[in-house]
Symmetry: C2
Subunit: 611 residues, 2 copies
């Protein structure tokens, strides 16, 4: 096992030096916080990660949840973990004081997610509860909030996001779970909960959708009220508990049946449930907010959820990188290439082989670039929540534009990064003697859930790039130009400012070459290669993040006279930035050629293609 699963130094560099987390205290909502309270929250998460999560990484993987007689059993440490998270106030870290939270910025909340998921992503329960509870506090009545949120934030009750159905995976407009209104007060159980509906239908892949480590499971569930319009405009959001209040202070079973648990490639610690509602015509759901607004509500929480998935990917890849780095430092194998004939010489640690160093730098570039981008997104989220006026609106537009990349880059490149971690260990990487093979399995879900990469790509090119007259894109380019200006002050960084400028131009050219298809209404053609555009855009955005980090590193070297490990840390940042620009950025060349290519090869014609 690697002795660490993340770099505290790097996390503090990003939070405090690059993104200056404590400056968020200028907004009233965050005014209770400073660097000390922030670091206390991080230390608290690290303690839980160190003691209750990391030691059980393999154990949670090997003892996957089982469904027997309708009951799902999970690893016994999960309950302990949820309790500790609740007691430490970490499930409600971002919630308002009024709702029992800490009013911590999402930047810190997502840093906490990073630490926890790096330690053991198979224990991802708390984030789901937090997201579900946030939907209730954002859109629910006081009655709903009072009934559900306190038990969720203290880790006693589990929250879920119940969207996917067997026939509606990426296509939420095809959700068919039904909701039939009940007369208010029909049963005593519902007397104080107006807006009650009978729910009937099926949901699949519901993470933490049932288990024995929580006393109740609270599903935030999409369903269609009888007679609702077709498509996305007829979908409503309900709170559907596993156990519902009986109106007399107790609880009764709410007829949400666990009809299957998926056995999976990775994240085996978390049950992915197949749930059936209304088998006995006795599932009751409570409407959250207004009818037919369900998808809108969900979308309003989606940026937060997608930051969470991106963070999970970045965290898993970081843990794998830590393991690979340690192995490469300790494992002697062969001699350096210019000393091949010195047979008497001892073997050299493999970190000294250029090919291994290239693999490690790739992992560092991907993982630290991803984390930087995600903290940038979280910062924008915080400003979009806490600021006012134009500042709020601009932050929101920029966040909205970055979100598909901030979810997909860490996921897609994280899969590749962990693969390189595994390769660094050679044959040992393929064995269960090291954690990398597990992380290789775990991370593979991240390009799929919370919107597949293909869906993110359509969101980016089909909606975000052009929305509000392309204002988000203008804001992003302005931010990048600002970083380029700051970097231009240093000779060492100048070549990279020019390269980033050229990449911005290339990105614009690509968009311009595609735009006529959008203007002609040929969405299919416009979006045919959207995934490649997302890849190109991601490379450029992360190049910006690396340049941004290198400006801070350069300033620190010049002004703080760091020595020893500190100097090496900052120089490592500059070196990795260069690696990124020399090895990763050139990939845009081929992508741009394809994206501007007029040959259509993936759109269906009448003639069936023999695949």
């Amino acid at each position: 096992m690697a002795p660490t699963y993340f770099s505290k130094r790097n996390l503090h560099f990003l939070l405090h030096e690059v993104f200056r987390a404590e400056e968020l205290a200028r907004y009233p909502y965050f005014s209770a916080h400073d660097r000390e309270t922030i670091n206390m929250a991080l230390d608290s998460a690290t303690f839980i990660a160190d003691t209750l999560m990391y030691p059980y990484l393999k154990d949670v993987d090997r003892n996957q949840p089982e469904l027997k007689n309708g009951q799902v059993t999970v690893h016994p440490k999960i309950r302990e973990f949820l309790k500790a998270m609740g007691d430490a106030g970490l499930i409600g870290a971002g919630f308002s004081f009024d709702h029992g939270g800490q009013q911590l910025p999402e930047m810190i909340g997502s840093a906490i997610t990073f630490i926890l998921m790096a330690a053991n992503n198979g224990m991802m329960y708390a984030g789901l509860t937090s997201g579900a509870a946030h939907l209730i506090t954002s859109f629910g009545s006081t009655a709903l909030i009072d009934s559900y949120v306190p038990n969720m934030l203290d880790g006693t009750w589990q929250g879920t996001m119940a969207l996917t159905e067997p026939q509606a995976g990426s296509s939420l407009s095809d959700v068919t779970t039904s909701a039939t209104p009940l007369p208010d007060g029909e049963s005593t159980a519902l007397a104080d909960q107006p807006g009650s509906y009978k729910i009937s239908g099926q949901k699949v892949f519901i993470s933490a959708g049932d288990h024995d480590a929580a006393d109740n499971i609270i599903h935030l569930m999409l369903a269609r009220i009888d007679g609702a319009p077709k498509g996305t405009k007829g979908i409503s959001l309900f709170v559907v508990p596993k156990l519902r209040p009986d109106g007399q202070g107790g609880f009764v079973d709410n007829d949400v049946q666990s009809t299957g648990v998926y056995h999976k490639l990775g994240q085996k610690g978390v049950p992915a449930m197949h749930l059936t509602m209304g088998s006995n015509n006795d599932t009751i759901g409570y409407l959250l907010g207004e009818p037919h607004q369900g998808l809108r509500y969900m979308f309003q929480m989606m940026n937060e959820a997608r930051i969470g998935v991106g963070m999970t990917a970045a965290a898993i890849a970081t843990a794998a990188y830590c393991s690979a780095l340690q192995y490469a430092r300790e494992r002697p194998q062969s001699r350096r290439l210019n000393e091949k004939n010195r047979l008497d010489a001892p073997q050299t640690p493999i970190i000294n082989h250029p090919d291994v160093r290239r693999m490690l730098l790739f992992q560092k570039a991907v993982t630290e670039g991803s984390l930087s981008l995600l903290l940038e997104a979280a910062r924008l989220y915080d400003i979009s929540e806490a600021a006012e006026g134009a500042e709020k609106e601009n932050a929101f537009l920029l966040l909205d534009l970055l979100m598909p990349v901030a979810k997909s880059y860490p996921a897609e490149m994280g899969v590749q990064s962990v693969s390189q971690s595994l390769q660094t260990l050679g044959g040992y990487g393929f064995t269960e003697d090291f954690p990398v093979e597990q992380l290789y399995r775990d991370i593979r879900i991240t390009p799929i859930y919370e919107g597949t990469t293909g869906i993110q790509a359509q969101d980016l090119l089909g909606r975000k790039i052009t929305q509000k007259g392309g204002k988000g894109t203008q804001l992003l380019f302005a931010e990048m130009s600002k970083t380029i200006r700051e970097a231009s002050a240093y000779d060492e960084l100048k070549p990279y400012t020019q390269q980033l400028g050229a990449e911005l131009k290339r990105t614009q050219d690509v968009v311009e070459s595609l735009m006529p298809h959008a203007l002609n209404g040929d969405t299919e053609r416009y979006l045919a290669d959207a995934t490649l555009f997302l890849e190109l855009f991601g490379i450029v955005v992360v190049a910006w993040q690396w340049l941004k980090q290198s400006v801070v590193a350069k300033q620190a070297i010049l002004t703080q006279n760091p020595q020893g490990d500190e100097l090496a840390f900052y120089e490592g940042k500059l070196h990795t930035m260069k690696f990124y620009f020399h090895y990763e950025v050139p990939k845009t060349l081929g992508l741009a050629v394809r994206l501007k290519d007029t040959e259509v090869l993936t759109i269906v014609t009448e003639k069936e293609l023999a695949l």
Copy 2:
């Protein structure tokens, strides 16, 4: 489960139409064969794959080998499979009639490997036996051949390749297993086996290194005779059986102890053993051929072994592609992008979405391109074995050059291809309900064993590109030019002939820009980015294979007037060739930029890098 795990039509297209397998009968060694005998062998393999392998794909994965009390138990079907393979003459398919084989070309032998490994790569036992037996027939005495080969070819005894040691993975020059000469005839057991040695040491990751489905295990083991020179020139090859003859017609235990079985990410059906020789000072090995020639012997068999690994990768990726293709055809989800608002329309099969079609075409391009390249390599192997004079020598040089690519491209791109298969299935791809998650795990070893991708890259750039004054490279470029000339006869193919020509030029430019480092003796600098060169070279070589296939497809369309499925098959070939050139080939742009870049970022300097 997908109904098929490979395309028989495509395999026959490559064997009979592109590479004209039966023409190998012009060489005396293969003269007994024609299309009928070839197809009989393929059908025989398919029958075994259909009945004894594919039905147990998951079962073999889920019941992995266990080591208890020094005994390794494997899935009970393995014994049945080995017996069937022996009875069908498939373990000895390529062996001479004299040795009890069928004298079938390696092109057919590797096609058989492809079929079997596509069905169930967790049952890879027979290929290991075949490789080990081939070493014995190639370099062993008549006594050794008679003692071991018949029982190996009939599937009763298992063969292994015992190279790797705990301290010597990629660095075989550091092998320390020792061999101490025994006086001939010291024990009655050895009276008829001169060249006997006491063996002592450890080997790790020995696939099929011990199990209960064979009556004996025959290790082809590298070791160092006492007093041998250091490095690669002092390594000898031994036959080390699990049970050795007692000289009286029986067998005694040879003190090869199973001290561990690795639990692995994939290929769980095959035990990867940790073996200890000489714990009781009673392991005897029989020298194969001359002392100190062990690595040379191994290297002479390495092309065959690497074709086997490449084929395994191509086969696994093919099985995953078949599964993804079937799913994409059957799974309705969402509406086509230009029909998003037709809410009443039924959902469309996902194969109709450009992004899914792109993923499928990528898989088809990679898997069929890999198979084509591997059959090309196998054909060259056959000519290098069966021809005479310059024809033999040229085939060998060309094979030697192609081998690093023919091993690595299917492995590296196969990993990506299976990942896209998984992505095609979305959330279902992550579950054990479909075989893709298993194939995703299984294929991940292929860039590691039989020489990691990094080792292959050093072999390609450091040795093969320049050996014999670059003759292999010249021969390859001549072959590619021949394909370009043939393709130039068709207007539809002309743009791609130009593109391939430009890629050849680009490849040459890259080599020329690197060559000064080699000439200056700075091997480390010369090879620092060798893996990227291997990637570039692989893209170009497979582009050649696709152009070659498209010439044959075009000719068939023009001369044979195919209809229906046959026409669609050939048009699918042309379409996929175009996809490959439009989507895959542009990746060389970025690779070439990096390879010609003078910034050094991965070579160790005195200053320790903070990774």
